[in-house]
Subunit: 440 residues, 2 copies
Amino acid sequence: MNNNRIFSEELVNEVADELLIADLQRATIGEVLLLSSELERRTGIPFIRMDQGSPGLPSCVIGREAEKVALDRDVASQYPAAAGVPELKKEASRFVKAFIDIDIPAECCIPTVGSVAASYGSFIAVTQADPKKNKVLFIDPGFPIQRSQLKIIGADYLQFDIYSYRGEALRAKIESFFERGDVAAIIYSNPNNPAWICLEESELKIIGELADKYGVIVLEDLAYFCMDFRQYLGKPFAPPYVPTVGRYCKNYIIMLSSSKIFSYAGQRMAVACISPNLWNTCFDGLATRYGGKGHFGSTFTASIMYMITSGVTHSTQYGYAAMLKAATDGELDFVTETEEYARRAARMKKIFTDNGFTIVYDRDVTREVGDGFFFTIGYPGIKSGELLKELLYYGVSSISLSTTGSEEEGVRACTSRMREELYPILEERMRNFKKDHPIV
Amino acid sequence: MNNNRIFSEELVNEVADELLIADLQRATIGEVLLLSSELERRTGIPFIRMDQGSPGLPSCVIGREAEKVALDRDVASQYPAAAGVPELKKEASRFVKAFIDIDIPAECCIPTVGSVAASYGSFIAVTQADPKKNKVLFIDPGFPIQRSQLKIIGADYLQFDIYSYRGEALRAKIESFFERGDVAAIIYSNPNNPAWICLEESELKIIGELADKYGVIVLEDLAYFCMDFRQYLGKPFAPPYVPTVGRYCKNYIIMLSSSKIFSYAGQRMAVACISPNLWNTCFDGLATRYGGKGHFGSTFTASIMYMITSGVTHSTQYGYAAMLKAATDGELDFVTETEEYARRAARMKKIFTDNGFTIVYDRDVTREVGDGFFFTIGYPGIKSGELLKELLYYGVSSISLSTTGSEEEGVRACTSRMREELYPILEERMRNFKKDHPIV
């Protein structure tokens, strides 16, 4: 039954055709975003926008003000140093110590144009370092952009859905890939985008041990840093610390984005923190291609990142440095500020589960999954792509889990654009959804 | 004779060793910059820094103020659109019309993280578009970073030194490369970095005609836009216009950097202006790799640039838009502001030529080469790398022409860091250089 749809199938298909969206069931984030905006524009009916993970809070004013001061000092007229401005490198190193409790020297902290550029440059470096190792292993579900980056580079990837391999089961699964001998790096985000599951220290230990055993580099994306709100991780230089693979292996790159923790996505700013051991390792593949000794740190900085963007926006580097410093000094509680997302998630999840939906990725090893930036929902008897489409008819936009490497059926929901006045609307629409989709 | 050296060979070699500079004669810009800074630091003796082409003027205040306004509107909290903010796209299109007199719709103007990211993304797109065409032809001398970008991508290049092929002679030379059938694109900067020669309309016509004949895409780097000061090019919507290949062929990308014309290098901001015909061409190679129809414009924007940086710093896009608008509206005479470089070049060239040096690239087809941001000098009997090294002993840093694809002997000098108090010092040092290097 479709009695209570808000947008007709004809209208949705018509707009999708106009936007050249070939397959709605496999639509990218960008396509869903365009489609829902266009439907809103044509009909005047608001969408519940759960698609793009754009910050839904004002950006951190400390960063903005520091950028303005830097502009007044005219940092715009001079190229930023390839390795980043000293203030930012120092504050990144202190921040990592304060909240993760690991030691990464300032020298090894390299600013990048968002974590997107950090993972792109890292993929290049790791897949070129050893000619025998040219594949990246994704712990899925994962961030589709990272897979698209490998298309540009022309490198292959391997992947598995972690759903059935939590805890000790992870060891045999990962080892089955590493044993092939062609895996250069393993990548995951923690908390996970899209599933909001969190790898626990025991799982990170397995990843780290296997990485060292097989000479694999770990790429750890901490975009949602300290946003596992089940425990308060925001006290600098005091436990509990953010879980990291950095405690368990030698060769890793931690990607620290400013986008979510400081709501600073617009300025495109992140730092790649490279473990000192990896920084100082020399690779034949890098030496052959770029000359010199193949030193990882300087090749990554000078021969790869510098050649792609010639540094990162000067004023924004000072802005990020100021925000990191304020957090490390205990003057900015970014964790409590972003906790708003957890409150939204709890309310939204309740509306969905009250109306027949289930949480797809619902557990970590020892606990229920927390409330935060994303969550995943499924509906009995409806497959991923179909659910994305069906929800569109009821004015709710999301991302199909099938595009994230997941084998489970469902969609990703982002809490960032939720607003107070939309809760009753979501509730009504989901009641109608349930009426039209009786669970047998 | 070395009687009048300022820095001893031993000291220079010692510092070069410490900085891991393998071969001083082939040192990169970054290496020369580090070496001269370190020598200055240790000795307290100032260098005449002619190495890096960093702006030597304050950044354009219109851009800075517009960035601050944008920050106050909190553009930092939202991802910038992949295709760029509408204001910037519109102003880039108007600017191109006003000063080059060609029509490129706003849609086809895509912001990039500096022209470095524009050429990097363009190299990817053009070498992947047609599997048979995977090489880039450089009209040398050229910008070493662009060659390094091809190392990352793993694409090959071809090159020739234009010195002996000016005017009509260019036709047969370029055709000899295009006839091979494997050239995807041709690239040059105009005015030229490092030689400051300017391709004339007759030469651009040859390039354009051959590009269309052989299906080659032209990458035109206009980083030194309107900086051929032999004629005033700064009046919007009035001739004389900036010479461009865009008048003579269908498929081209013009790269418009903010770094030099607005002294805005620190903020990493440029626009890639893609010709409408190229924008709308579909390529099998792009379709195979990225899916869809292989549409050049949308693949470049959404599947390549977006995947590398996910957009360009939001506030800086508004800053660049404001500067372009002011220039197009006739309210900002950026040409007269940058003419300071020409005055410096004239004085510096006189000091060198008074002391036995020659201008290496000294002529265009119909005229003597102008004064501007760069110039090239040689000294009788001394080869490129040797001259770079010898000048270092006299406290003058430069770039060897041999690292730019030139077959001539000499170095590139940049005028941007020259200061009033340094002219007498340069004069004295070059008098001493001449005494120590008698011309036989």
